[in-house]
């Protein structure tokens, strides 16, 4: 199992039957592959779908039916379509139970940076700012450190802010960390990973839960 698959599988454990869920582009999308048995969720796509299904194979791809990443998709029975204003009524209005998105940096206060690397990459926030503002629960699913090894979990984010006090939980290939009013709490550690490794790769104060679990 790759680190990303491991992250996706762990995030999926937090899904509840009946949840309305928005999964960001990339790693978060993989969460849909690990929905536990007996749990029925409804996927929302911000371009205007409730009831998103798997990606469409080439022979059934329909250019009129895409997900928020612009990929041709399918929908499940009972799905619905709507315009962007209504889509964000769902998102901003608190009708999404959980949002899973990637991040460039997250900090001790639950602040999130996900849309600009100064001087390098500007992608724009898309629907991310609205999703984190309106969803009942926000999970960041990301690798623990950047490709060059630099830390992504910080005491204070450095990159431009996408949202303040927005993140509830961080799931990486090494750890599950909860954002609380008293800072970050390490709740779970990946099997075979040492506490020292997690602490050394996290540039923020980390409280270790008394009942630290492995996943």
């Amino acid at each position: 199992m790759t680190p990303k698959e491991k992250i996706a599988r762990r995030v999926a454990c937090d899904l509840h039957d009946g949840d309305v869920v928005n999964l960001g582009i990339g790693l978060p999308t993989m969460v849909a592959d690990y929905v536990p048995d007996g749990v029925d969720i409804t996927l929302q796509s911000e371009n205007g779908i409730l009831g998103l299904g798997p990606l469409a194979s080439k022979d059934i791809a329909n250019k009129h039916l895409v997900n928020s990443g612009g990929q041709c998709v399918t929908v499940l029975p009972g799905a619905s379509y709507f315009d962007s204003a209504f889509s964000f009524v769902i998102i901003r209005g608190g009708h999404v139970d959980m949002t899973v998105l990637g991040a460039l940096q997250v900090d001790s206060h639950g602040n999130l940076a996900s849309h600009i690397v100064p001087g390098k990459m500007v992608s724009g926030m898309g629907g991310a700012m609205d999703l984190v503002a309106g969803s009942k629960k926000v999970i960041v699913a990301m690798t623990h450190t950047a490709k060059d090894g630099s830390p992504k979990i910080l005491d204070n984010i450095v990159f431009p802010t996408t949202a303040i006090h927005a993140v509830d939980k961080i799931v990486t290939e090494l750890a599950v960390i909860e954002v609380t009013d008293n800072g970050l709490v390490l709740k779970e550690i990946a099997e075979g990973v040492s506490l020292d490794e997690v602490i050394s790769k996290t540039k923020a104060p980390l409280k270790v839960a008394k009942d630290l679990k492995t996943f």
Binding site: S84, F88, R92, G124
Partner: protein
């Protein structure tokens, strides 16, 4: 409402115009109208759109052809040219959260003075904007957006100008059709009046000024 040729439809879009363009990436974009703007070569456009797609597709082609002075959009990540032009100052990019963009357009078309949204509080999006505290929670005042023209990508239109949108092509199209002085819809098919069931009409004909496509 008039059914016209593509050339006639865009005849009055000139240099410096503000144009809303519907679509989400290349889904539901009015591509024939975009191609016509490229052929006409109008410059210094201000474009309001969900995203700038890629340098070789839909709205991205206008940017690659140096026809855009400013873009108000939520996402430029698929189009490195947009980022490059933003960094070197040859195109102004106003990044707007997607839900806020939708509400600004909706309020522009709905006669509202703007919307109050929690999205963007405490971020650079809030810069220069009024923050109002309503019942203990902070909101940004986001002002309405309107345009000289809106270009709409419909799937089916009837001869009166009622528009139907397949699957996820509604996106920004329906709200943009309410928020511009002149609304031009391109459609894949034009059917006789009554060919679209009333409950399937997403944009009523009163919003549409010019209709192109469907082989006419």
């Amino acid at each position: 409402m008039k059914i016209v040729s593509i050339e006639d439809a865009i005849a009055n879009i000139n240099d410096g115009a503000t144009v809303m363009i519907g679509g989400f990436f290349a889904c539901g974009t009015p591509d024939p109208l975009i191609d016509a703007l490229i052929e006409k070569g109008v410059k210094d456009l201000t474009i309001i759109c969900d995203d700038t797609d890629t340098p070789t597709t839909s709205i991205g082609k206008l940017i690659a052809n140096d026809q855009v002075k400013k873009v108000i959009t939520s996402h430029i990540g698929r189009n490195p040219l947009s980022g490059q032009k933003m960094q070197d100052g040859t195109m102004e990019v106003e990044l707007c959260p997607q839900g806020t963009l939708a509400e600004r357009i909706r309020s522009g078309g709905a006669g509202l003075g703007g919307v109050l949204t929690p999205t963007g509080v405490g971020t650079e999006v809030a810069k220069g904007k009024q923050v109002l505290n309503i019942d203990g929670k902070d909101y940004l005042l986001e002002k309405p957006l309107r345009a000289d023209f809106a270009l709409i990508g419909a799937t089916i239109a009837d001869e009166k100008g009622n528009l139907y949108f397949a699957a996820t092509t509604r996106n920004f199209n329906t709200i943009m059709a309410t928020a511009a002085d002149i609304v031009i819809a391109s459609t894949e098919l034009i059917v006789p009046i009554g060919g679209i069931q009333p409950e399937h009409v997403a944009v009523p004909y009163i919003f549409v000024d010019y209709l192109v496509g469907g082989g006419k």
